[in-house]
């Protein structure tokens, strides 16, 4: 298995401008290897993904041009091949060109980026609110309109971490109580922390946001499909920073209501 994967890697080639790998390797292999951003399941994550691909294509092309010119110079203008040095030391025309063209490229990049940001920051007209509180080392979720709240901590046993037991499929990405959200609803997520700064991040649902003591940050999520999505704390928060995962179950409306009822009965 690993040998096969290594072969794949060597086959893809560790090119110098390696984002090329993303072009050369089919999407299925990318998913298996984790070469690219995780498959987006919300509008925000999709916008981020598309923007990421657009910018990466642009910088890859720039990178290839720069490398091509450099390697051309290295091969063509060798003293050992009898190259004679020219004497020029400036060219206003060239300098204007390579100031103006990058400026234009930056403007092309800035337009979709600004649009994406406007979308992400629009937390209005949400269907429901969940408050997320980070603490050392786990998360607390509070469904503010539903009178449901609970803690969520790492469920991977210590024996798997120290290696006395075989590591499970979702090693370090499993928790005791999942966050459950309804599909298709705009969920406004409020973030804060009890002790130090944490960051709540489920890559497939969109970007991360810091959970900061004394502050309320906000973000929103509207999942397009049901499923289980996993993430981690992304801000160094002390000894067990690497051991505070996030698991979100996206379920349909009926299941969500049933789950809420179950939670209330437990409480």
């Amino acid at each position: 298995m690993i040998i096969n994967r290594l072969k794949h890697l060597l086959g893809a080639g560790m090119t110098l401008v390696g984002t090329l790998v993303l072009w050369a390797v089919p999407a299925s292999v990318q998913a298996e290897w984790g070469l690219n951003l995780q498959r987006p399941v919300t509008e925000i994550a999709r916008v981020q993904y598309d923007l990421h691909m657009l910018i990466m294509y642009i910088v890859t092309v720039i990178g290839i041009i720069v490398f091509a010119i450099m390697f051309y110079s290295i091969i063509k203008f060798r003293k050992s091949k009898g190259a004679q040095a020219a004497k020029f030391s400036h060219s206003t025309k060239a300098e204007v060109i390579w100031t103006v063209i990058p400026t234009l490229i930056l403007i092309v990049m800035a337009v979709p980026s600004t649009k994406a940001l406007l979308l992400m920051e629009d937390t209005t007209e949400s269907d429901m609110v969940v408050k997320v509180t980070g603490y050392q080392w786990g998360w607390h979720y509070d469904y503010m309109e539903e009178d449901v709240s609970f803690f969520s901590k790492l469920a991977t046993p210590q024996s798997q971490i120290t290696g006395t037991e075989t590591k499970g499929e979702n090693y370090l990405l499993e928790v005791d109580n999942h966050l459950v959200l309804p599909v298709g609803q705009k969920v406004r997520i409020l973030l804060t922390a009890r002790d130090v700064i944490h960051a709540w991040w489920v890559p497939q649902l969109g970007g991360k946001k810091d959970a900061i003591p004394g502050f309320i940050n906000e973000m929103w999520v509207r999942a397009d499909e049901t499923g289980t999505f996993r993430g981690q704390c992304a801000e160094l928060c002390g000894k067990d920073h690497g051991f505070m995962p996030i698991v979100v179950d996206i379920v349909d409306e009926g299941q969500y209501q049933a789950w809420l009822d179950g939670q209330r009965n437990n409480g």
Binding site: A45, H52, L172, F243
Partner: protein, 523 residues
């Protein structure tokens, strides 16, 4: 320009340990800085190997998470403040007087002091690993409230930063005073070698940025011990304010780490292209432009803290602007090589690698400037890959280029070219094996600063760790090269290379203890 009889009279080198303790000679102090930097490079590198050993496989095998966090923190602090910054000050000490035709630095006694502060400062930092509670473990950015939780190791770190900051400011004052006042007759500002230009701009950045860091860590200290609440929300403070102050220092800091390297390769590339530097004037203005922009982009390190939309837009646009002057520099170096007559001695190999791989880091930097996408990249291994491409491939490879370029001038002997090439190829290949896969780890969602990871990240981490160990041990080759060149080898001529530009090539190799007692004339 010629060595006079009077020069020889003064050219008696003091003997014994007091030569190094009490020296006011710019070459001796430069040597001290460079050795100190190299030792710190190995110490910081050893810590990086602890990190890579722990990350070799999923699970906890080598260290506990708290010690892992200390390694992450101290590795960065040592590399930034102990290896790279002093390394460049070493180059400044050796080369600035010789490149501008001055007999020494303007403030030689202060020069001695600014060096001798360093070993004490970094000793405090390393000692912190052995006090109760261990060393700093909140990352080199020491964000509160986490850094307020730490033990006395954090206090030792704060004092380390104070002393290092003092050393840097003294060094910067000295460099500015030297460059402004001691240039040889005829060397106008726009005739200064680019290395001098980049260093004078760096020195201004240091004077502007280091006191800001000192202020931030002092507030941290009073929060920890004297009941203030600058960063404690329970007392009306603001933890995000620390991040703003820190990065107002921190972003200029990254240019402090890179600009002198740009200066070095701007000396090296023309020499081995046998062609003058392309676009000297635009290089100077691009450097100044980068320095200016460095003060208005700081919050791109903190897109996820919950800034207002207008703030996120401002910092995105200003950050994207940096691509323009940086691009100008890259294109100018390429144009210098264009239609040149290239040879590929080790300094040139390193200079080319600096341009090429720094470009990779610069382009990933542009990706991260895009705020919406950075919400995915932020605090992942993509960031780790990015800043090693810019700091290792920019600053450190630039420094290697400079070491090989001027080593014959310093020691009077040619270095071993075969070993130099081994060092180059092992470093470049191992570097890319170590850090290129980290781009993918970051994309796939591996957060930085974690001692253990889920199974989908296993393969790339194995590759990265193997690369890391090769990279680390390859650096010992440089030690061998330098020691061999000090002990002997082929005698170097005054010019060393083929018609290199610059006053440093008009003095014999090795450079006499005192140079330019009489100022040379620059036409």
């Amino acid at each position: 320009m010629t060595t006079t009889v009077a020069d020889h009279h003064h050219d008696e080198v003091p003997k014994g340990i007091t030569r190094w303790l009490f020296t006011t000679n710019h070459k001796d102090i430069g040597t001290l800085y460079l050795w100190f930097s190299f030792i710190m490079f190995l110490v910081g590198g050893a810590m990086a190997l602890v990190i890579r050993a722990e990350l070799f496989q999923p699970g906890l095998q080598v260290v506990d998470p708290h010690f892992y966090n200390q390694m992450v923190t101290v590795h960065a602090l040592i590399m930034i403040f102990g290896a790279i910054m002093p390394g460049f000050v070493g180059f400044a000490n050796w080369m600035i007087p010789m490149m501008i035709g001055a007999p020494d630095m303007a403030l030689p006694r202060m020069n001695n002091w600014s060096f001798w502060l360093l070993p004490f400062a970094t000793s405090l930092l390393i000692l912190s690993l052995f006090v109760p509670g261990g060393g700093p473990a909140a990352g080199w950015t020491i964000y509160p409230p986490l850094s307020v939780q730490g033990g006395m190791g954090v206090d030792l770190t704060i004092f380390t930063i104070h002393i290092l900051g003092m050393s840097s400011i003294l060094g910067a004052i000295n460099i500015i005073a030297t460059i402004m006042n001691m240039r040889a007759p005829g060397m106008t500002l726009m005739k200064m070698p680019l290395f001098i230009w980049t260093w004078v701009i760096t020195a201004f950045l240091l004077i502007a940025a280091m006191p800001v860091l000192a202020g931030a860590v002092t507030m941290l200290l009073t929060d920890r011990h004297f009941g203030t609440a600058f960063f404690d929300p329970a007392g009306g403070g603001d933890p995000v304010m620390f991040q703003h102050i820190f990065w107002f220092f921190g972003h200029p800091e990254v240019y402090i780490l890179i600009l002198p390297a740009f200066g070095i390769i701007s000396q090296v590339i023309p020499t081995f292209s046998r062609k003058p530097l392309f676009g000297y004037t635009s290089m100077v203005f691009a450097t100044a432009g980068i320095a200016f922009l460095s003060f208005i982009v700081w919050a791109h390190h903190m897109y996820t803290v919950g800034m207002p939309l207008s703030g996120e837009l401002f910092f995105m646009y200003s950050t994207m602007l940096i691509a323009i002057p940086t691009g100008v520099k890259i294109f100018n170096w390429m144009a210098t090589m264009w239609r040149g007559s290239l040879t590929f001695e080790t300094p040139m190999l390193y200079a080319i690698a600096t341009v090429a791989l720094f470009t990779v880091g610069g382009l990933t930097g542009l990706m991260m400037a895009i705020t919406p996408a950075d919400f995915q990249y932020h605090d992942t291994y993509f960031i780790v890959a990015h800043f090693h491409y810019v700091i290792f491939c920019g600053s450190v490879l630039g420094m290697f280029s400079g070491v090989y370029y001027w080593l014959p001038k310093w020691t009077g002997h040619m270095y071993d070219e075969t070993l130099g090439k081994w060092h180059f190829w092992l470093t470049i290949i191992a570097f890319n094996v170590t850090f290129f896969p980290q781009h993918f780890l970051g994309f796939a969602g591996m957060p930085r600063r974690i001692p253990d990871y889920s199974l989908q990240f296993a393969e790339f981490n194995v590759i990265s760790s193997i690369g890391g160990f090769v990279l680390g041990f390859s650096q010992l080759i440089l030690l061998v090269v330098v020691i061999k060149a000090i002990r002997g080898g082929k005698k170097a001529s005054a010019e060393v290379w083929e018609n290199p530009e610059g006053l440093e090539w008009t003095v014999p190799s090795p450079a006499p203890y005192h140079t330019f007692a009489t100022a040379p004339e620059v036409k």
